[in-house]
C-alpha cells in the first residue's frame, strides 16, 4: 500500500485523477441541475442530481483504484519483484482496498465541500443513512474492482481499459440521476439485482421527499453486496491462480 501512496504523492497524473475529473463532473452536473430545477416543480431535484453524482464518483473511484493499482505495477514491470516476495494475493487485495478508502475519502470530501460552496448542497443533510450508503458503495466498488482485476489476470493487459470503462455499463441502469421506473422493462430487471440501484433510489427519495427507504430495501442492499463481494473475491483469487499459471506476473502483456 505504501508503494501506491508514494506513487500518488510523487506523480502529477495520480493527483489529477483524484481531483480534476470529479470537479469537472460536479461543475457540469451542478449547473445542469440548477437548470433542470428551474424547469421542475419538484423541490430538491437539483440536490438529488448532485448527491447522485457525488456517490457515483465514489463508486467509480473505488472500483478503479482496485484495478489501476495492479496495472501500475504491470506497467512498471514490477509485478515480477512484487510477487517474488512473501506477499500473498489476499494481502495485496487488502492493501489496495485500504488505499481505495484513503483516495475516495479525499475525492468525496473535496467534491462534497465544492458542492456545498458552489451550489449550497449538503450531502450529509441526508443524515446517518448517508454513511450506510457510502459503506455499501465501498463494498460494491471493491467487488466490482475485484471482478475487473480477475478479467485482467485472465485475459491480460489488453483488457486494461476495463479499469476505467467497465463500470460505465452500470451507470445508465443504476438510477443515479433518474428513477428506475423510466428504464425499459428488461433493464429494470437487471437494475433490481444491483445494490447500487437501491442505494441511488434511496438517496433520491431521502433528498427530495425526506423519506427513509424501507428496511427491506436496506436489507436487500446488504444481501446483494455480500453476494457480490464473495463473488468478486472468488473471481480475484481464481484470476490470480490463472495469471500465475500463465506466467502473467513475469510477462504482463
Amino acid at each position: 500500500m505504501l508503494r501506491h501512496v508514494y506513487e500518488m504523492w510523487a506523480t502529477f497524473d495520480r493527483k489529477f485523477d483524484i481531483i480534476f475529473w470529479p470537479t469537472i463532473d460536479l461543475l457540469i452536473f451542478g449547473l445542469l441541475s440548477i437548470h433542470v430545477q428551474k424547469l421542475s416543480t419538484q423541490a430538491n431535484l437539483s440536490g438529488a442530481i448532485i448527491g447522485g453524482l457525488i456517490l457515483w464518483t465514489l463508486v467509480y473511484s473505488v472500483q478503479r483504484d482496485i484495478s489501476v493499482s495492479l496495472l501500475e505495477d504491470a506497467w512498471s514491470r514490477n509485478l515480477y519483484n512484487l510477487f517474488s516476495t512473501p506477499l500473498k494475493a489476499g494481502e495485496m487485495l487488502i492493501g489496495v482496498m485500504l488505499l481505495s478508502i484513503g483516495k475516495a475519502i479525499i475525492t468525496v470530501s473535496f467534491v462534497t465541500l465544492l458542492a456545498w460552496g458552489l451550489f449550497g448542497f449538503k450531502l450529509f443533510s441526508v443524515g446517518p443513512l448517508i454513511f450506510f450508503f457510502i459503506f455499501n458503495i465501498f463494498i460494491f466498488g471493491w467487488a466490482f474492482g475485484c471482478l475487473t482485476v480477475s478479467l485482467i489476470f485472465r485475459f491480460g493487459s489488453k483488457l486494461q481499459i476495463f479499469a476505467w470503462s467497465l463500470i460505465a455499463l452500470l451507470y445508465p441502469i443504476s438510477g443515479v440521476f433518474y428513477p428506475l421506473s423510466i428504464l425499459p422493462g428488461p433493464l429494470v430487471s437487471i437494475a433490481k439485482i444491483l445494490p447500487l440501484s437501491y442505494i441511488f433510489e434511496g438517496l433520491r427519495e431521502a433528498i427530495i421527499i425526506g423519506k427513509i427507504p424501507p428496511a427491506s430495501d436496506l436489507f436487500i442492499i446488504m444481501i446483494l453486496n455480500s453476494i457480490y463481494l464473495m463473488l468478486g473475491i472468488w473471481a480475484f483469487m481464481a484470476g490470480f491462480r490463472n495469471a500465475k499459471n500463465r506466467g502473467w506476473f513475469i510477462h504482463p502483456s
Binding site: 508514494y6 515480477y80 517474488s84 512473501p86 506466467g247 513475469i250
Partner: protein
C-alpha cells in the same frame, strides 16, 4: 552437506490457442547449502522458467520442490521470506526513487534497521549516489545493480540470479561477481545462477546443470564438464549443447 533445494520431476507446459509447449520436461536436481549452482542452456531451454517456478511466480504443471526440507508450494510465503531473486528482465516501480523502492521491499521482508541496510547495499554496489534518483531514469546497468540490492535486502539464505550481469559493463560485472562470491562465502548463502557468460559460470559455480529443450542433459562441476566433453573450455561445451550435439 544437506540439500537445501530439492527439485523433483518438475514439468511446465503452456497451452495456448490449441498449441502445447513443454518449457520444462520433468527435471530433477538438488542444491547443497552454501553451493553456487548454475543452470546453463540456450534461450528457451527452460532456465528462467525453472527459476520462476522456484520463487513462486509460476505454477508448475507437475513435480515438487522442497526448500529447507519443506514443500515449497505448501509453505510458499514463509519460504519466500528466506529467498530472493534478481533478474535483468524485471524492474522496480519507475515512479519512485531508488531509496523508496528499496524501503518498500525492506518493509515487505520486515528487514530490521532498513535505512542502514539500504545505505550499506547501495554502497556495496557503488550506487549510493543514485538513492534519490527516480528508478525510471536509471540506465539498464544501474537498474540491474538496484535490483541486486533488492535481492539482498532480506539477507536471503537462497538467492536466485537470472542473468544478473547481462546488462553490466565488464568492470562492474566483475565487481558484482566478486561481491556475490564474498557474500556467499561469508554468509554460507546458496545461489542458483543462470548466465550466458561461460567464464563467469566457470568462475562462480560449484556445479552446473546443462539444460537443453527443457531437460537436464548433465549435472557436474564446470571442470568435469569440460573434461568429460574433451573441450578446451565451458564455452565450447555450451556451443556443442546449443548445436544439439548431445541429443540422443
Amino acid at each position: 552437506m544437506e540439500n537445501i533445494i530439492e527439485v523433483k520431476n518438475l514439468r511446465k507446459t503452456y497451452k495456448s490457442r490449441g498449441r502445447t509447449t513443454e518449457a520444462v520436461r520433468g527435471i530433477s536436481f538438488s542444491v547443497k547449502k552454501g553451493e553456487i549452482f548454475g543452470i546453463l542452456g540456450v534461450n528457451g531451454a527452460g532456465k528462467s522458467t525453472t527459476l520462476n517456478i522456484m520463487i513462486g511466480l509460476l505454477s508448475p504443471t507437475a513435480g515438487s520442490i522442497k526448500i529447507m526440507g519443506e514443500n515449497f508450494f505448501h509453505h510458499e510465503s514463509e519460504l519466500k521470506d528466506k529467498m530472493n531473486i534478481a533478474t535483468a528482465y524485471a524492474d522496480l516501480a519507475n515512479n519512485l526513487t531508488v531509496y523508496r523502492n528499496l524501503k518498500i521491499y525492506a518493509l515487505m521482508y520486515n528487514t530490521p534497521n532498513h535505512k542502514k541496510k539500504i545505505a550499506d547495499l547501495l554502497d556495496l554496489f557503488g550506487i549510493s549516489h543514485l538513492a534519490h534518483k527516480w528508478f525510471g531514469d536509471l540506465s539498464a546497468g544501474e537498474k540491474t545493480r538496484v535490483n541486486l540490492c533488492k535481492s539482498l535486502i532480506n539477507d536471503p539464505e537462497i538467492l536466485l540470479l537470472d542473468e544478473p550481469t547481462a546488462s553490466l559493463d565488464p568492470s562492474i560485472a566483475a565487481h558484482v561477481r566478486s561481491t556475490i562470491l564474498d557474500l556467499q562465502k561469508s554468509r554460507k548463502m546458496t545461489v542458483v545462477f543462470t548466465s550466458h557468460n561461460m567464464p563467469e559460470v566457470e568462475q562462480m559455480c560449484n556445479r552446473v546443470a546443462l539444460l537443453h529443450k527443457g531437460s537436464i542433459y548433465r549435472i557436474d562441476s564446470p571442470k568435469n564438464l569440460v573434461a568429460h566433453h574433451d573441450a578446451p573450455d565451458l564455452e565450447e561445451v555450451f556451443i556443442r549443447l546449443a548445436k544439439g550435439e548431445f541429443e540422443e
